[in-house]
Symmetry: C3
Subunit: 215 residues, 3 copies
């Protein structure tokens, strides 16, 4: 693939949520983004993530983020703990991608692939809506933060730095014995395809031992 | 929140319908908008409004319109009476927002919040598709009207003025006695949250009477 | 409808798939398009086409393509045979529209209406992702091809010319006797409306014979 066309802000805001398609929630978030960052190209990854399932959201983000332009701002909201102590955060990664969302494991898989460089807690009153509700941080905190990042606001302006150790996602790990590699299905997609927790490299390494033996 | 970035047409066309996500209907509407207003930023609020339920559509519009840029053109189509006598209208509001859709109550809640300033009936042949079907005014009448408003066509060019008294939505009202405030659930969202017809102010005013008594 | 506003690339990339709304697949495709063609206006026709149903996809495309700007690039992926011998193609039509997708009948109805002018097989390594998976040509082959067409890459650069006879869609045809025109329902939309294989012209011609007789 040859070099990409360059232009001002050649990266989008990409959104993934579990808000579904019946209600106005996604619309309200996009309204906020359009108000703060009128020229932003907003792309839906999905709003059909299984409700409150951070695992499904984290996997979808892990599988898609690398196909987006380098400096894309990812706005991810699957937030069963909205209104509790979990921190609202933004992440700058070494790969260039920025991630905005709750620190509940949702961002973990993608952000660690991209290389976490800096994490801030979204507390700046100037970079959220004036009235922050108890139940809709997607609209009141996360969407404004993503829009300001898109506009060029430095991530450090959004709030104080946090340790780079964000909340990890507790995915089951495959177990391996001499003769058996045992995984678990962690996701079923809309076509019925099963996604397990055994990645390609693990499967190939395990398989290669048997080929060696039989030769 | 600081002042917003200004640029040419820094407002979107925001769409809400009950067309669902299986068919090409939303796509056809967006094709019409892209043909008439190629640079328009088109935002989906939702296309999953309960089929033919003007109440659900009106509530979604009421809950989201204020989060959009000031001069946003809202294109709303939940239209069980398509092809009957109900008027196709466009509304200019004092808040700046414009609303386009059928005059069947769908626009009532949002437009009265925004302050109805001018209403026109969409009859101009130059501002609709050449062939108007009996069943798809969203594509043939409403989408063109929204696209022309976005381009700067004055609302008065779209058709003759109507009285500002558009069709009201008949929502049940809460009843109040000395000891009881009685409402009704008017909407259930995708998470299972219940939305009643008792707004925050009514609940607080009712509750404050009891606090006074007990003090 | 008066002449449309002209500007650089005043046409969108319009996407229709059966990928659904739960997963990240549509998001990954859009990420690829945003990477190759950052300024492209991407419009969703639908991603809710019945899974693997080329007939439903072909009908949706036939019903919507003519409402889009003249040079729109249509990216259509309903691809039960992904990874088999079916060819990935791009079509230039006399009407101006371009179609990208699998040669499995999906593009047939719309492309023949628009007038097939040139067909190429998408084989150019420079115009697809570096790693092409066995199961996701939408992301790896079709999305890049659509994005390059949008950017102005000539269709001939995408691969070798094929005969203009693309794979036809085998829709049942209505049968006609002296007293009976017999069709079949080929599609049921989200509202429950039935779409038959009898088009308006056929119905009117058949009906007009009876009016003549009874006069």
């Amino acid at each position: 693939m040859p070099a990409l066309v360059s232009k001002q802000n050649p990266f989008p805001v990409a959104i993934i949520t579990d808000f579904g398609y019946r209600d106005h929630y996604v619309g309200a978030m996009k309204g906020v983004i359009a108000s703060i960052a009128p020229g932003a190209n907003v792309i839906d990854i999905s709003h059909g993530v299984t409700a409150q399932c951070t695992v499904a959201g984290a996997i979808a983000l892990r599988e898609s983020w690398r196909y987006f332009p380098r400096r894309t701002v990812f706005l991810a909201v699957v937030d069963p703990g909205v209104g509790t102590a979990r921190a609202p955060i933004a992440i700058q990664t070494r790969a260039g991608a920025r991630f905005v969302g709750p620190d509940n494991g949702l961002l973990w898989l993608a952000a660690t692939q991209a290389g976490i460089k800096r994490v801030v807690k979204l507390t700046s009153p100037r970079h959220r809506l004036t009235h922050v509700s108890a139940t809709f941080h997607g609209r009141d905190i996360f969407a404004p933060a993503a829009a300001y990042l898109w506009r060029g606001t430095p991530i450090s302006a959004l709030g104080p730095a946090l340790p780079a150790s964000i909340v990890a996602l507790e995915l089951p790990r495959p177990t391996e014995s001499a003769r058996e590699l045992r995984g678990e299905v962690v996701y079923v997609d809309g076509f019925g395809n099963l996604v397990s927790n055994i990645d390609r490299r693990t499967a190939e390494q395990f398989g290669s031992r048997f080929r060696h033996k039989s030769l």
